[in-house]
Homo-oligomer: 740 residues x 2
């Protein structure tokens, strides 16, 4: 067994977990032919809760698989297929706890309002399970995302719809021209490891330490703030402008990821748009606990406690706002849900590509598409959207049948840049000075701030940067494609970063490579000019741009970002292959339970697995593994070409049927290859059996549909029940099970 | 006298000539202090006519000064101040002939319809005087234009108005995406000197030689064509688009300079816009000689011969066109003059900057400003306007108080590129093949063309290119400013050009210089990004871009292109200094004759003279000349600052008063300088005298105004009379005349 390799397949939640019951047996069966073991590690919400309370579980303990994976991620041997998991909100967490308790697990209730020390201790344990608790632990590497060849070819052949652009379009992206994070950014690099203090100096001279950080040698620290007054003036000006020009108003922030700063920005938008309402009822709103950072929905929620006459007056005042404010883009015009209803509805990285794909238009109150001012206060990254809008006005909509591709190598490891800033973000309570000082008192960053301003610091460690540069060079070499480092020389942070990039690039032989550094505007423009000429470009970017661009370009090229190949080459040498950016999809579970049809598309798993197998082959010099990967890619291409992805409708092919075709095509490709005769001989009978029994298997798979399915739980479904539901074809199972 | 230098001052026509009577005595007086003679050479229309008929003039012969200047231009000693002259149309030519005949010159009448050989001979002589007959002869060098420091400083202090841009503006520049000159361009460089034939091969295989050219070694020849069908389809599509979006339609070509190709393009616009009219009345229009290439005015002209009922029907049909066509931009909404009235009203290099300065808007039928689709069929250069429009939408209007400057070094010598293509431009009479062949029959360029297509060839000689590269490098060095060669790698011509640029750049030590080559879009974008940051950039461009950019940027920066310093460093080593891009201004002459007020601004002459003096100083190691030049620049700056430019209103300071202040400030600056004590001593009493007598002189100058002035001719005014009119202050004259 010493020369067997191992792939670690994560067991997660909801639809991806259900799909795993069907797909994993196939994967294990095929992988065994190359002496590869596929182990499963459970990082579902339920498993993580149980792991957190192992000491309370008498004989019910399970292994802490997340801890195991965290360890594995820092080992060169790691080869992890990472499926999407639940980033649990409190209601989700409580649901999972209840389900586990019902299954007999002795775990404590979630302390809503902890009082005792014991309560606090329990609460602290649960807090570690809450929110985005898996990715930060596992992402011990940067990000390498691209459109796989099969997916790109499919999009070229069967292009998604793209709204036509008019040269006369009035749509645009508007952003602050001063007073925002971009214009105040200061940055420095630590000469040597040490502590820094983030301090607030009040008007009275009193110094308050807001945070103490231990920084590594070579670590970059940024400080920046957004002026509350300028932000509010900007919102007002955009509203006036829309009123004058008749263009619809729309706000685009990322309140989910930028969970501290952007809800505040969102709140200001709400109180500026509904200024008269908040001025008139401000005191009352405070009393009843309205929080504009939660959107206008907070008003609707909280006023329910008021007498109905008072409620009606407020609703009337809200209604009157619309008479003198410009039209606002709607999230759901039928239900009257505006852009300002809740902060998580319109998320810039998803909403802007959607708008651009849609002729630069969003939906108005009357359900009609209209030209829109997309308001994105932070100018740092907003400019790239205006650049793309201008480009589409000039050159028309992108054409998926001819356009090239923009892949991404993104700085991500160890919570780089803004995405790690949440615990260093502060809303100023008073006027004063925010500063960052070294241990010896040297002031490295200093800003004069006013009450209401949002100040934040961002950290970027040296090792991830070094790794990211390596990844950029490797990707350029492997893809034989020009790579552009997006480094804006007007940003203090990027100037620090560029010093390192210039230095670390010297470690590589760049002969034959085309590697350049450009400002964001230039970088996106050059990438787009290449795109419309059918040319590919690698974007090598920071963390936020990684997030934005891996939606923006895929949505133009492929119609979705879920079909991207998403690799995290771990810094320790292993690899993690992420799948299905589309989330964990609770609606899919509901459909399965109600009518036994799972529409989850495992395309992401297919793609990730192929790379995982290829990597295994390369690292262990295992030809069979390489051929398995190559054949899997061929099978995926054929599956797309033949339209064997899951349908949304019951009675038609679903996730399970799609897996059958994958197995069929995979076996056929392996049987057809000529590089390894033994492997071909091994899979020839499989291909034959599956092919001959296609009608029977599909009939068995489809007959299962149409009635409720019993899986024994939502967060922690019963494995035996679920496996039975997800593998309903005995004919298919027999062929697969015979392989192991 | 052997170490005296010489500056040659051209005597031209109309307002600039009138101003010369006042300015030249001052210039001569000041220049003599540095041992510089200022000679005058008469290249006025009248003088050129007389020179052409010297053999017919018994005892009235004058020297052929243009021939003299042409010779001088190819000598290293040339130092020419070139004022604007008349590019005579036939009516102007006939006017000048009549005036000369009345003054007793025995020159023949202009043969309108030459029959005899003698008539033809006369007509041929007059043809050489017609049109742009001076610049092509004198421009034995490339172009070096920039905003002088004093002018730039003035514009920063007293900015011209700039229309605000809205991000929601619908204005844009639209151009063909295929089927135009840009997309068909082919280009090659001659290995060795030789002849080429431009041939048309008919469908029957018959070869017609359209033109034979003798090309030099290293000369670049381009061939390209515009598809008539695609051009017309493009026009129709732009009209449909405007109809849908409500944006106003406007055509921008350069029918004056591109006098063969663009009138045809213009004609197609007329017959597409008024399609129904031309379809219904086409046969009749042909009979009565309507030529759509002359605009809709040709219809109005020619139908005058028709019965009034028929006229009215046609006018009614024209009127009805407006009901189903989009609104068209007006040249004069009061008079109902549209953009399609005559081809010379809207000239792209002037009209586009005006539109961009005016919030991207033009004037509609109701006299109101509106968002506009600027239609420019040829995409080659049109793209730069769309680029600037997008830039203004994103960044707002340019701010003259803070913006940098874009100067130009332009390839111009020996009729380079498109501007020399008129005799090689053909409108196809039939379908077939246009090709360019070498003497040995090798086909170098070949296009399949259809009847109506416009085919043209452009020449660019090697020596001018070599000189242009030198000029670019020198300008970058002298101005210590980054220089961008605008070379579009998607253009066949520019690819040939770039080979030479790359080669010739090797002749220079580029240490410390920032010289780059960029596609047009990138070049203008980078230049604009620098502009709004207050940074200067040198644009090193071909001939058309030279023409366009030296209007576009100056109009943004200075409000006019007339204030640019325009130098033609002659290839033989001399220098020509062009003044006043604003033309020769017939209206100014009329005002002088009627009310003795000349509003002509000699700023261009001041600027040109300063460089001319500086150059003299450098070339002859004449410190006094350098100081004269430097002091003149100071004086010009002071004049601008003190508002001593000519007013438009009678009774206020005019051209002559402005000259007085120039003399005063110039003398003051010379008296104040400390580098040459003798020179200071020489001018101290002049400064004192002029300063002390300022009130008297201004009174004398202004008292002359308000009544008609007798100058004894328009084209050939009487020198004594004109001098008397232009030098009405005896006090001022006494000081000046005493200097010589």
């Amino acid at each position: 067994m010493s020369n067997r390799s191992k792939i670690t397949y994560t067991f997660t939640d909801e639809a991806p977990a259900l799909a795993t019951y069907s797909l994993l047996p196939i994967v294990k069966a095929f992988a065994s032919s190359a002496d590869i073991d596929v182990e499963t590690r459970d990082i579902s919400l339920g498993a993580r809760i149980l792991a957190a309370f192992a000491d309370k579980l008498d004989g019910q303990q399970i292994q802490d698989d997340l801890a195991y994976l965290a360890q594995l991620a820092t080992s060169p041997a790691a080869n992890i297929i990472k499926l999407p998991n639940i980033s649990a909100s409190i209601p989700q967490l409580k649901g999972a706890i209840a389900e586990l308790q019902a299954q007999g697990y002795q775990i404590p209730d979630f302390p809503e309002d902890p009082q005792s020390d014991a309560d606090h201790e329990i609460r602290a344990r649960y807090s570690k399970v809450l929110g985005s608790a898996v990715n930060p632990v596992l992402r011990e590497g940067n990000s390498d995302r691209r459109a796989p060849a099969a997916v790109k070819a499919f999009a070229r052949k069967y292009p998604h719809s793209m709204g036509k652009w008019s040269m006369a379009s009035q749509s645009h992206a508007d952003y602050m021209r001063g007073g925002d994070f971009f214009s105040s950014e200061q940055s420095f690099t630590m000469d040597k490891a040490g502590k820094v203090r983030i301090e607030f100096v009040g008007k009275n001279g009193q110094v308050e330490v807001k945070k103490e950080l231990s920084l590594q040698q070579g670590e970059i620290l940024d400080g920046m703030f957004m002026s509350c007054n300028k932000l509010r003036a900007f919102f007002e000006q955009t509203l006036q402008d829309c009123k004058e020009t008749g263009v619809m108003w729309s706000l685009h922030v990322k309140a989910t990821m930028m969970k501290v700063s952007h809800p505040i920005v969102f709140g200001h938008a709400v109180t500026v748009y509904y200024k008269d309402v908040f001025e008139k009822h401000g005191k009352l709103f405070e009393e009843i606990g309205v929080n504009p950072n939660n959107g206008l929905s907070s008003v609707y929620d909280k006023i329910k406690s008021l007498p109905s006459a008072q409620q009606e007056e407020i609703l009337q005042d809200i209604h009157e706002t619309y008479a003198h404010r410009p039209e606002m883009a709607m999230v759901d015009s039928v239900k009257g849900i505006t852009n300002l209803h809740i902060p998580s509805d319109v998320i810039v990285d998803a909403s802007m590509p959607a708008m651009i794909r849609n002729s630069g238009q969003m939906w108005g109150r009357d359900g009609k598409q209209k030209d829109t001012k997309a308001v994105m206060p932070e100018s740092t990254y907003a400019r790239i959207y205006q650049e793309m809008i201008n480009f589409c006005k000039t050159n028309g909509a992108f054409d998926p049948t001819t356009m090239g591709s923009v892949s991404n190598v993104g700085l991500m490891a160890q919570k780089a840049e803004e995405y790690g800033s949440h615990d260093k973000t502060f809303e100023m309570a008073a006027d004063g000075i925010m500063r960052v000082t070294l241990e010896d008192g040297t002031v490295m960053i200093q800003h004069e701030v006013e009450a209401g301003d949002i100040w934040r610091a961002c950290q970027t460690k040296d090792a991830p940067i070094r790794d990211w540069v390596k990844l950029g060079v490797n990707r350029a070499r492997q893809s034989n494609t020009p790579a552009i480092f997006w480094l804006d020389q007007e940003r203090a942070h990027d100037r620090e970063l560029k010093k390192k990039v210039d230095l670390y690039l010297k470690d590589y032989d760049l002969t034959g490579l085309d590697i350049r550094c450009m400002d964001y505007n230039e970088a996106i423009r050059v990438s787009m000019e290449r795109l419309i000429r059918g040319l590919d470009t690698i974007s090598v970017t920071g963390n936020v741009l990684r997030d934005y661009l891996t939606d923006l370009f895929p949505i133009m090229e492929l119609g979705t970002s879920a079909k991207m190949l998403s690799i995290v080459p771990l810094m320790a040498g292993g690899g993690m292959y992420e799948t299905g950016a589309g989330g964990s999809a609770p609606k899919h579970v509901q459909q399965l339970v109600e009518e036994n049809h799972l529409r989850w598309d495992s395309l992401g798993e297919f793609l990730a697995l192929a790379v995982s197998l290829e990597e295994t082959g390369i690292k262990t010099n295992n030809t069979k593994a390489k051929l398995l990967g190559k054949a899997l890619d061929e099978a995926t291409g054929k599956l797309l070409d033949n339209g064997k992805s899951p349908s949304r409708k019951v009675g038609e092919i679903d996730n399970r049927g799609s897996h059958f075709y994958l197995a069929l095509y995979w076996a056929q490709a392996l049987a057809a290859q000529t590089e390894d005769a033994a492997l071909a001989a091994h899979f020839a009978p499989v291909a034959k059996a599956l092919s001959e029994q296609e009608a029977t298997i599909i009939a068995e798979l489809n007959q299962a549909q149409g009635k409720p399915a019993e899986i024994g739980g939502y967060y922690c479904a019963n494995p035996e029940l679920t496996s039975k539901v997800m593998r309903p074809s005995n004919t298919f199972n027999a062929v697969i099970d015979a392989l192991v």
